[in-house]
Symmetry: C3
Subunit: 343 residues, 3 copies
């Protein structure tokens, strides 16, 4: 693995398919879960930089723990609070608020670190900029070392990998070949603020690529996601209908994609409750957290036996660990440490 920005990065062998690559990653992640220190020396003398342009709790801590399990030193830098505003526009005349161009910062970070992990949320103002992944791509272009997304403008791959780990852990009888015998429903939920589409995009991208489940997305009208991620998923506007016989219900709010970043409705009827759960096949309930209790999801579900939210968050460690491990095994380039600017 070279970078880790989307599900496409995990297919390194042209003969392999993405579903099989996901299953292989999950198997390795579960091996780390059984034996966290199995590769204790893999990261010796390697340094990982964790760059946050936006706040983080689970992502930061689970990645730090994963790095430590591999013997790597992790250094956190909160660009938004400890640093200064970065410029991403090519050719910008920097007489405004931005203090440093990514073209200058990224190569240096590439000299200091063997692997660079970056969190950069979307603006939700300019769809073209956000969906071009300009921040993540600029770091890939200029840093010269592997880049791992800690959530980008459009995707959250470490979350999705942890989610599939969690689903597989709870699908003991899932046939290895996959035959669509489990049903996963991604449902929109109300929220008080316009949120990115990263998690639903990423969930759709990974479940589709995995190819081992019947996949339904349910949301109010006009909340369609980008079809590059949803692909052939069944879209339903009737949540109750969609929930029928579900084995897993993934709950998440997102803002509108077409008319970008808006809230069209906040109908509390879309909140997942115990009553709605009765429509499912005793489904396990998932959420990436943080969750607004009694707005997105009811206390009774979160505190009940069907919730997987803590397990998902705990599995973030193994998702991060397997990704870092694959990158290290692929031979992270030795930083040149100033011999010359990285081209």
């Amino acid at each position: 693995m070279k970078n880790f920005i989307s599900v496409h990065d995990i297919v390194t062998d042209a003969n392999s398919n993405t579903g099989a690559a996901i299953d292989a990653l999950v198997a390795k992640a579960l091996a780390y879960k059984a034996n966290p220190f199995a590769d204790r020396k893999l990261g010796a003398d390697k340094r990982i930089g964790l760059l946050f342009l936006n706040p983080s709790l689970r992502t930061r801590l689970s990645t730090q723990v994963a790095a430590a399990n591999l013997g790597m030193e992790a250094i956190v830098f909160n660009v938004d609070k400890e640093g200064w505003a970065m410029e991403f526009e090519e050719g910008a005349i920097m007489s405004g608020n931005t203090v440093e161009h990514v073209k200058d910062a990224a190569p240096i970070l590439g000299h200091y670190f063997d692997v660079l992990c970056i969190r950069a949320f979307p603006s939700l103002k300019n769809k073209a900029d956000d969906y071009s992944e300009e921040v993540m791509n600029a770091f890939i272009k200029f840093a010269g070392v592997p880049i791992v997304s800690l959530e980008s403008s459009t995707l959250h791959p470490l979350q999705s990998l942890a989610d599939i780990i969690t689903i597989k852990e709870h699908c003991i009888n899932l046939p290895p070949s996959g035959n669509g015998n489990i049903k996963i429903v991604l449902t929109w939920a109300p929220h008080i603020k316009p949120l990115p589409q990263c998690v639903p995009n990423s969930t759709a991208q990974w479940i589709n690529a995995w190819g081992k489940a019947e996949f339904i997305i349910t949301h109010p009208k006009h909340y369609e996601l980008d079809t590059q991620f949803t692909q052939n998923a069944t879209i339903m506007h009737n949540q109750n209908e969609a929930l029928k016989n579900a084995n897993f219900v993934y709950v998440k709010n997102w803002s509108t994609f077409k008319d970008y970043g808006k809230i069209y409705t906040n109908d509390p009827a879309w909140m997942l409750t115990e009553e709605k759960l009765q429509l499912t096949n005793n489904a396990k309930v998932m959420h990436c957290l943080p969750v607004r209790r009694n707005v997105e999801l009811s206390d009774e579900i979160l505190d009940g036996p069907n919730s997987l939210v803590t397990t998902q968050a705990a599995n973030r460690v193994w998702a991060a660990q397997v990704v870092l491990s694959e990158i290290l095994k692929n031979g992270a380039p030795v930083p040149q440490m100033g011999l010359s600017p990285i081209p």
Copy 2:
């Protein structure tokens, strides 16, 4: 030791008394002071999370140093700055400013860390909430791993343990059985802002539990502390009278407890000066820091030979180290890392 929230947590043997338990802890702390790396391997592969809902200098740094002395990896997370506002109310409908409920965050932190240390100041607005220690107790209830207070709404136990270490270091002739032959005076001091009662509460709780000193508290009228902590301490409103023959004077401001969180007076006559020190038995002067110079305590005392404030702060390392060590030796539970939500 399972948690470390108050002096009561150190008595683990029903046959033991708290005074003896304090003496035993102090002895172990002084052994670490003589040999910081004696238990270098005790914390191998253990992780400690330091969660700050409020700012910290000494507490954070001394706990990081203590953890490192034991070979533990410490990860700091400034919830107030790097994270988001947490909700603590059971059943809250989270449509306001709080982003994540402690019921969701705590179990995950319990999965990531072997020991969780938390700083959470009181609001000074709602006495019932503050004195119920809702933050600390929520983490104890939901995290599933040992919790260490880095100062809570009502107490500051690592400070008090460091203070007793410091007192014992300067009482070479203190008889092991304790006979009240040293006199400790806790005196209120002026300050410009309403401060918590944590340090005076905790000082009183620990000195009382230790039981080896004559203990006087002096403060202006209406500054009475909670009697659950002061117990049988002598309360005096005449500071000069109280200081007579003192061996140790502990200086600290606090806001009113009864009419909660107020400033009734700021009489500069209560500032401890060299002149007042003449009333004592050449007393050593203590303060937990940070101190407002020439408001709480005069320069001449802080810069003079009677001040113990640097020693107290330096001893914070050994207090933290012995507490972490006792928790590790008690067998911190191996985090379940996502096998299931912690009940």
Copy 3:
């Protein structure tokens, strides 16, 4: 080496001269660059505190990496964000905004850490305060352990050392004795904000002390720097004239020194461009970063083959590593950890 505040700190042997001492440091730094982990055990059980009163990216990260290369544990503390306002005035009555006096904080940090690194920018309001280096000198006076400047009110020595490392790397034919056969031009550049004089002061101080180059400073009228740093450097107000035949051009903005901290001009004609570079001897272009692109320096230069800015920043690691190493080899005092206040 005892402290590292200015070039004067590197001369530890009375028989040595500063130029030779710089060359020796550079040689050791380049040895670390070739073999980063050569002194992996030198810093075992040593702790370095990195205290930031102002933000930092390169300085913080490169110093952390350098410390790790030496096996030291580095702990970062952002005083401005994680802590509180410090008081530096002797005898202050602290009834205002400052919460802790350096006289109380420094000795404690000296107990927690073996080496203390501090960043403290100038106010640009009070020249006398800034140029007295009151913050750095207070820490030297009160901390009791070696102090390393991560940029102070008037100087930035780690930057200057990295710069000379970079210059020497690109001067393969520089005779060891030095004969002025390379020409270095420090040129003022436009900027939108008043910036400190630290980097130009420090550049001048180190190039002068090195004594192996013809050294020209060019700036608009009234931008004269403090002559204690510029000494005998040639000052020119005609930039084009100054650039002629230069081998290295160091680009940097600064605010006025005499009428302290002002912007007198922002003439864009002073921006270094490809056209101006034609006047030089195919000069290498340097800047300490962050740089305002197309304000201080044009894209075409920064993205072209003559730019050394990434190399300079990458060399910050080796500058920091050699300084920490020299301090450790000199025997950093074992912290007294609370045995007594440091006098």
